[in-house]
């Protein structure tokens, strides 16, 4: 598409000794990843004891966001670790806009201090610089924190690299039996921790807004039931175990309630369960399937999937009940929506004949932007800063996690786990 340029040109009277300032208005831009170089952090301890290649973690984070294009260390004209070592001209020649330099110092057994600086190549100014102490097992997390700082400084949006995701894995044993597990890991898939293992299916993990609890569906008693579990202690309680299905828990933004799907009255309906009082309020009443509720960030609305119109579509209803409003009209299948953190967008599973793909819909104008291209994608959820969407995709015989930048520009597989990995749910920001 050719850019349309509007130029305001004001050439006022020229005379021998007066000059005029030319006015030019830039009305267009490009949308591209920002070039950034993460120089290898200098290890200041004994040789061969470098604990973690932090710069790679940072580079992977930034690249995965779709907002950055990182430079391979082998392509760098130099690998400075100090400000005064940077040869700005060389970097400018390469079109590099920003560089991250740093070093890692041992500070006693298993203890380190990481120093890093983010420097703008064009202005020669340090944009950020921090010294962070960390234990050995915190180095990856520290790298994510550095990624967050870089991301925020250069995009103006809080980074969400130092966050976690919850998901379900299924492993097949040699005897053909399956082992289901509920896990949480860092947002890049590293550092997985098992919260629950079961021979029966597990489904629909949902984070509490404070990131301390996870609600999920377990079939451990051969029928679906909803549990909430403390991530740290593992303590859990069953909060819904009705006849029929008990599923699709979704924590309210204030953390006091769960929206869920129960079919105890005959067909699946959306309910809101008050966790303290156990009081249950039905939100929908329709003979069709109503399920997959999720809260708007302000808690005022719930969107859900219903086939009341003949095919699964996404509807919106007030969280105090009332008439539901259909939101999706494009495609014959739209389901399992999740709000963007700003409440403006929904990401959902969309099928317009080209397979089940992850899409983003602008709630205001209902424009749908399809982000993925394989035919069996599901369970999308936004990162807490709205920058990325994590989802599950089917490749070959297995299911794995993938991430796509919310603008659809960058795709990345998180193929770290064995077996099937599915139903990723991005956790909230850690407390500041």
């Amino acid at each position: 598409m050719k850019k349309q340029i509007i130029i305001l040109l004001l050439l006022t009277h020229f005379s021998a000794n007066s000059y005029s300032v030319l006015d030019i208005t830039i009305t267009q831009g490009i949308e591209e990843a920002l070039p950034i170089a993460i120089a290898p952090f200098e290890w200041q301890g004994q040789p061969n004891e470098l604990p973690v290649a932090m710069h790679l973690t940072i580079a992977n984070d930034l690249a995965r966001s779709g907002r950055f294009i990182t430079m391979d260390a082998r392509d760098m004209p130099q690998t400075p670790s100090q400000f005064n070592q940077i040869n700005f001209a060389d970097w400018r020649l390469l079109g590099m806009e920003n560089i991250v330099i740093g070093n890692i110092r041992p500070q006693g057994p298993g203890q380190y201090e990481i120093e890093f600086r983010l420097i703008n190549i064009y202005s020669g100014e340090q944009i950020a610089g921090f010294r962070i102490p960390a234990r050995r097992d915190q180095l990856r997390r520290t790298a994510h924190r550095i990624s967050d700082i870089v991301f925020e400084k250069l995009t103006g949006v809080r980074g969400a690299f130092d966050t976690r995701i919850a998901y379900i894995t299924v492993k097949r044993a040699a005897d053909g039996s399956k082992l289901n597990s509920l896990q949480v890991s860092d947002a890049d898939g590293f550092n997985p921790q098992v919260l629950l293992e079961s021979p029966e299916p597990l489904m629909s993990p949902s984070w509490s807004p404070d990131g301390k609890m996870i609600a999920y569906v377990s079939f451990e008693n051969r029928s679906s039931a909803i549990y909430i579990q403390d991530i740290l202690t593992g303590a859990r309680q069953r909060v819904a175990n009705n006849p029929g299905i008990n599923s699709a828990p979704s924590w309210s933004p204030d953390g006091t309630r769960l929206a869920l799907t129960l079919s105890k009255e005959g067909d699946p309906e959306i309910f809101i369960l008050n966790l303290a009082s156990r009081n249950l309020i039905r939100i929908t009443n329709n003979r069709a399937i109503d399920t997959e509720p999720t809260w708007s960030p302000d808690g005022s609305n719930i969107v859900f999937t219903s086939d009341r119109g003949g095919s699964p579509q996404v509807y919106q209803v007030s969280s105090s009940g009332g008439t539901a409003r259909r939101l999706t009209f494009e495609g014959n299948y739209n389901s399992r929506a999740r709000y963007s953190p700003d409440g403006q967008l929904l990401t959902l599973v969309h099928n317009d004949g080209g397979g089940f793909r992850i899409a983003v819909m602008d709630i205001a104008n209902r424009d749908i932007n399809i982000l993925t291209s394989s035919g069996l994608d599901e369970s999308p959820s936004f990162s807490p800063n709205g920058n990325m969407i994590i989802y599950a995709t089917t490749r070959g015989r297995g299911t794995e996690l993938a991430a796509v930048s919310a603008d659809g520009r960058v795709h990345q597989r998180l193929g770290l786990q064995e077996g099937d990995v599915r139903e990723p749910e991005w956790g909230p920001f850690p407390p500041l």
Binding site: L9, Y19, L22, T27, G29, I30, K153, L154, G156
Partner: protein, 295 residues
């Protein structure tokens, strides 16, 4: 009065002459002056050393001398009485003559006084006349002076008038010159303006083509990915010949540091910007106010 003063000295003078003559005539009879004893005392002190025999003799001599002198004195006295009687008679004669003279003198005096009065009156008249003349003269002088001053003032006035006129003439000349110069300048300016306008129009066409190219060059580097919508900021940039951006200065921030920074980087990445080689045209566009306002 004047007459009286003038007569008195003459009378006094005569009396004084008489007195002086008298004194000269009777000077030996006068008692010794008070200084005499003092002189004798001095002599006494000196006499102590004198010989007593000599003193006896001396005394006898003195006595004899004294007797002789007494005799002479008595004779002299008789002469003098005789002479005095004679003098008295002469004096009476003289007195009578003097009275006549005096009478005559009084008449004369009266006449003289009248004459004198007449003279005084005349003199007074003369003085009055003189006074009058003098006043007249002063008046005349004053009048003359006034006249002179008037004349001077008139002359000065005339000079001033002349000066003003000259000034006015000069001013008129100057104004005329000024007007002429102004007209000339205006004519030149108009011509210059016309030439300038023509050139500006030509240059403008060239500049316009470069404006589009500059905008394009910057837009190709202005990364708006993920930027908040509706922001704008203004930079002023200065280029050096060849288009290299020598200065980038923000004059209005968007309030969003990421937005501002992306704009600044766009300019720096786009540097050198496309500019014409012609120094004149380049001079007109070396400074650019860049508004970043992506739609």
């Amino acid at each position: 009065m004047m007459n009286l003063i003038m007569i008195k000295p003459a009378l006094s003078s005569a009396l004084l002459h008489l007195l002086v003559i008298g004194m000269l005539m009777f000077s030996f009879d006068l008692t010794p002056t008070p200084r005499q004893p003092i002189a004798n005392n001095v002599d006494i002190i000196d006499a102590v050393t004198v010989d007593s025999v000599q003193v006896e003799q001396e005394l006898k001599d003195i006595k004899a001398l004294e007797q002789q002198k007494q005799q002479e004195r008595e004779k002299q006295l008789a002469d003098m009485q005789k002479q005095s009687q004679e003098a008295e008679r002469k004096r009476q004669q003289e007195e009578s003559r003097l009275a006549d003279i005096k009478k005559q003198q009084q008449v004369e005096e009266t006449r003289r006084k009248q004459e004198e009065q007449k003279l005084v009156d005349i003199k007074k008249q003369q003085q009055q006349e003189q006074q009058r003349l003098k006043e007249e003269e002063i008046k005349l002088a004053q009048a003359k002076k006034q006249q002179e001053e008037l004349k001077k003032r008139q002359e000065e006035e005339e000079q001033r008038r002349k000066d003003v006129a000259e000034q006015k003439r000069q001013e008129e000349l100057r104004l005329a010159e000024q007007a002429r110069k102004k007209q000339e300048a205006e004519r030149l300016a108009a011509e210059q303006k016309q030439r300038q306008a023509a050139q500006d129009r030509q240059d403008m066409t060239v500049i316009n083509s470069y404006v589009a190219r500059i905008a394009n060059a910057i837009e190709r580097e202005f990364n708006t990915a993920g930027l908040t919508e509706g922001l704008s900021c203004i930079f002023e940039i200065r280029m050096i010949p060849g288009g290299e951006v020598a200065e980038v200065k923000i004059v209005k921030t968007s309030g969003n540091s990421v937005f501002d920074s992306r704009a600044e980087i766009a300019v720096k990445r786009a540097s050198p910007l496309p500019v014409p080689d012609n120094p004149r045209i380049f001079g007109k566009m070396r400074e650019i106010r860049l508004t970043f306002a992506p739609n």
